[in-house]
Symmetry: C2
Subunit: 215 residues, 2 copies
DNA sequence: ATATAAAACTAACGTTCGTTAGTTAGGTTT
DNA sequence: AAACCTAACTAACGAACGTTAGTTTTATAT
């Protein structure tokens, strides 16, 4: 089995290898129906080969899911660099804008968007994915925002409140948007979501800002 | 097929009918593993009968899920009565406390708690459940809070802001708590969750209140 | 005691599932 | 030309699935 990374970021590359096709088709199907509800035969049919041929490229159905998750984790961006942060922090309005852009662009590309959906479905069935979600997609950002708010208080640009509470206040709305889109309205167009999410995240940031900024 | 309502609210009633046992066992299993991952044979084994006997009580596996959902909808409480509302609204602190209690007690009994979890899992696979969730568990409460905040503004007990934004601000945190518990930490004890949820909902209400109350 | 209806049983049906063994075609390297 | 590898193929395995038909037990009513 070759270990060439099966990334296949471009959806309409005509020179895709069979392994990449399997990857892409699986992601499409998994993200729409969930892992268990998709059969190897269905993947094979969509790719245009027999189901047994899948096993020339991936040793099991589970291995396809693993490859998808591995790809996603490698694509996770870690946000803007430290130095830039410090400057931004002095004007909270700007900072929130950057934060919102970060959040929304984190679900930007078609592939990552599908994986977000897949993760949502598999949260209930897959312990590994659930732990990943908790640690990397919830706790890490919240701890990050807590640190940011703490620093802002030290710099006296916002009022003194419990930074943890503030982090939850800010971040829980992002989770709400995520939930509304990926769980409840997954089929609507991405463009529409991006625009709406941007506006609502801006409203939210404004509300938070109004109550914590020092006039 | 008898149409006696299969409620079985008390978990340790020794005089449960077989139909009630099937209902309870199915709910247990569905809420832990999801509908598709539970087989009729597994339910039968847990109840202590053969799988074919299930069909003397429910005409299909799907019919068990339908019965569970029907029970849940019938248990949904609609909140405190109108007259009491008007009085409460004049002191927002009290009102939030009532709101939080409502929210948390809505997930109170062991049975409803399991169904909440089941709903979460089936959101992705079941269009009926997804629509129910959107309408009854998201839109309805948010519209309710929007009306409440509008009235509060009319009574001049809180500042004038966009009531829709405010409703989302208040409610999205509740959804966050729901998500954290039912999706990510389902196995922890209910008592622990109730206490933590109560505290955090109080912190949240205090934060919101601080930024909208008229001093 | 006898008849009746509910609810348990045994046995099997037709499908679909993930996966494997063994084989064949096509292209590249010796 | 021969050897080799990759990746396709055919065919099938055993297991699990939801469901059904037909039969026997059990409890209740006459």
């Amino acid at each position: 089995m070759t270990n060439k990374n099966s990334s296949s970021k471009t959806g309409n590359n005509p020179e895709k290898t069979t392994k990449e096709k399997i990857f892409d088709v699986s992601l499409d199907l998994f993200s729409q129906k969930g892992f268990d509800a998709v059969s190897v035969r269905e993947i094979a049919r969509e790719v245009g080969i027999r189901e047994s041929s899948i096993y020339n490229h991936y040793k099991s159905k589970e291995a396809i899911l693993d490859a998808i998750m591995e790809y996603f984790m490698s694509e996770l961006q870690s946000g803007p660099p430290e130095e830039e942060m410090d400057k931004l922090m002095e004007t909270p309005e700007l900072f929130f804008e950057v934060g919102a852009r970060d959040f929304i662009e984190g679900m930007n590309t078609p592939n990552t968007q599908k994986i977000w959906r897949l993760i949502s479905i598999e949260l209930y069935h897959n312990e590994k994915i659930r732990e990943f979600f908790k640690k990397e997609l919830l706790e890490a950002p919240i701890n990050g925002w807590e640190k940011i708010f703490t620093k802002m208080m030290e710099k006296k640009v916002i009022k003194e409140v419990d930074p943890k509470v503030l982090a939850y206040e800010y971040f829980s709305f992002a989770l709400y948007l995520y939930f509304e889109y990926f769980v409840l309205n997954y089929n609507e167009s991405m463009q529409t979501f991006m625009e709406v999410a941007w506006d609502r995240m801006a409203d939210h940031a404004e509300f938070i800002l109004d109550s914590i900024k020092i006039h």
